[in-house]
Structures are given as structure tokens and as C-alpha cells.
Subunit: 165 residues, 2 copies
């Protein structure tokens, strides 16, 4: 059962996800680890900035972003599905935001067993302020990449997204 082939061939000090790349790794694994490394770096910058500027976390920001996009409100199950980052307990985050008056839970008039979560007016205001800065951080992070290369990446990643569906 155990693979006998020795896979460890150290070439340089490891630094991130790509440290997992061995010479015989398939191109797809190389691509995946590079995607992960890039996403992880940008995510870390965004996390640090959210903490430093707004004393908030990425899962909280992500949850508010999903609600901003759904002014009609979302059920908890829909909200969980749409979250883009892990590491957050959706119920716990919602409770916290509700306590701070940034989101509200509303009963569905058509089915009183169902709750919808929405941004409060204050939540909308706070989110827009964060989103505007977030946009600036991202623009700065990708500043060194040409428009041509960014467009190519958007297109190629669109293909990836379609295939992974």
C-alpha cells in the first residue's frame, strides 16, 4: 500500500503552498498550488487590513457582502452556501452582528417558521465604507499587473470556474 517512490527532492527553502511541488508533480497540481498560494497571500492582506482598519474579520465582511447583494434577505442555509471564506461559524457571526445592530432577523410573513437575515441600515452604511476601502486594497494589490494580463486571467479563470462546476 505505501508508496515506495521517494518523492522528496529539496531544492530550496520552502515558503508557501508551492513548497509542496515536487519535480514529478502534474501540471494541474502545480496550477492548483499556485492558485492557492496567490489567493492565500491576497486573503492574508485583506484579513490584516480588515482587522487594522475596521477591527473586523474576513468571515464577517464576507457575510455582510453576501447580505448586501441580497436586499430581500437570506435564510441561514442560503447564507452558509454563499459564504466564500471558511473559518467562520455562520450562526455565531450572525448573532454577533445582530447584537451590534448590523444585521436583523425577520420572520417570513408567508411562513412564520422561517427567518431571513438582512443588513440593517447601519450595517449597510458600515459595509459600504468597508467595501470602498477593500476595493482600493485589491486595486493596489494587482497594481503591477497589466490590464491585458488581468483580462487574460479573468478569462482563463472563467474557464476553470466553468469546468469545476
Amino acid at each position: 500500500m505505501a508508496k515506495e517512490k521517494k518523492k522528496l527532492r529539496l531544492v530550496e527553502p520552502p515558503a508557501d503552498a508551492e513548497t509542496r511541488i515536487h519535480d514529478d508533480h502534474h501540471l494541474s497540481v502545480r496550477l492548483w498550488l499556485r492558485m492557492l498560494a496567490c489567493t492565500n497571500r491576497i486573503e492574508n492582506v485583506v484579513r490584516q487590513n480588515l482587522q487594522a482598519r475596521f477591527a473586523t474579520t474576513l468571515p464577517r465582511f464576507d457575510l455582510m457582502a453576501q447580505l448586501e447583494r441580497a436586499p430581500q434577505g437570506l435564510r441561514m442555509s442560503e447564507l452558509s452556501q454563499r459564504m466564500m471564506v471558511t473559518g467562520g461559524n455562520v450562526t455565531g457571526i450572525t448573532d454577533g452582528l445582530e447584537k451590534e445592530g448590523l444585521v436583523v432577523r425577520e420572520v417570513d410573513p408567508a411562513d412564520r417558521r422561517v427567518f431571513y437575515v438582512k443588513l440593517s441600515t447601519e450595517g449597510q452604511r458600515q459595509f459600504r465604507r468597508m467595501a470602498a476601502e477593500h476595493e482600493q486594497w485589491v486595486i493596489e494589490l494587482f497594481d503591477g499587473i497589466s490590464v491585458k494580463h488581468k483580462n487574460q486571467l479573468v478569462e482563463l479563470l472563467g474557464e476553470v470556474k466553468q469546468h469545476v462546476r
Copy 2:
């Protein structure tokens, strides 16, 4: 202070990170949300497969992957830095893996206050079995993308990685 500009223009039912894209969003934000959407989809498949096939989690797999790449062992601080996924408490994961005999903690003979974490022989064996399957999943996930496009992506993401450094 509050932004007056109305940003909500719903065009289709939202499904993932890209639901945050508004017409006036900068190309960089579009690119970032697409990267996040792709990474998230692939990560979810990998998480589900790790759970179904090995009853393990992505942070555990990630931690073991970092240790496999560092046969000399890693301090806890180094290990934390190298982790590619969030949502895991490195000390907690290490404790769990140690209890199962998959990692060992060793005292640095040069400085007895310092501990190194290493994969045990059994940990190496288990990791290699998981890594071989993981490689297959990733190959399958990217199966529909041409080698040319994969190479383009590796190159363009390399540029991103450099700039975000």
C-alpha cells in the same frame, strides 16, 4: 460619510463570490473575486473528498503536507506561517495528530526549550496515500482545461504571486 451612490444593480440570482460584482467594479476586484470563487470551489471538492475518503480535514492535510516537505521538522511558529488554509488551530491540530501517532514533537538538542514537529513513519505513510489521491482529484478537476491554458495560468499567477509578495 455614508456613500450615497446606489450600487445595487441585480442582474441574475447570486451564486458565489462573484455575486459581489457590480457594473462599476474595477477589473482588479473582478479578478480577485473570480480567483476566490475558483479557489473556493476546488477547495470545497478537496475538503469533501478528504472527509469522505480519509475522514480528515483540509487543515490536517495541509499541516501534514508542510511537515512532509520539511523532514528536519518545523517549529510551531514556522508551521503556522506555512499553512495554506485557514480555519485550523495549529496547536490543536498538532495535538490531535500526535495523539493518533501521526506526528511527533522532538526537543532541539541544541536548545532544549525548542520543540520541533515531524511526521512519524506512520504519518508519512498516511500522508503519501492521501497525497496520491489528492493529486488525482486535482488532475480530474482541471481535466477540461487545455495544457496551453494551464501553462498560461501558471505563468500569469506567477506574476500575481510576485507582485503581491
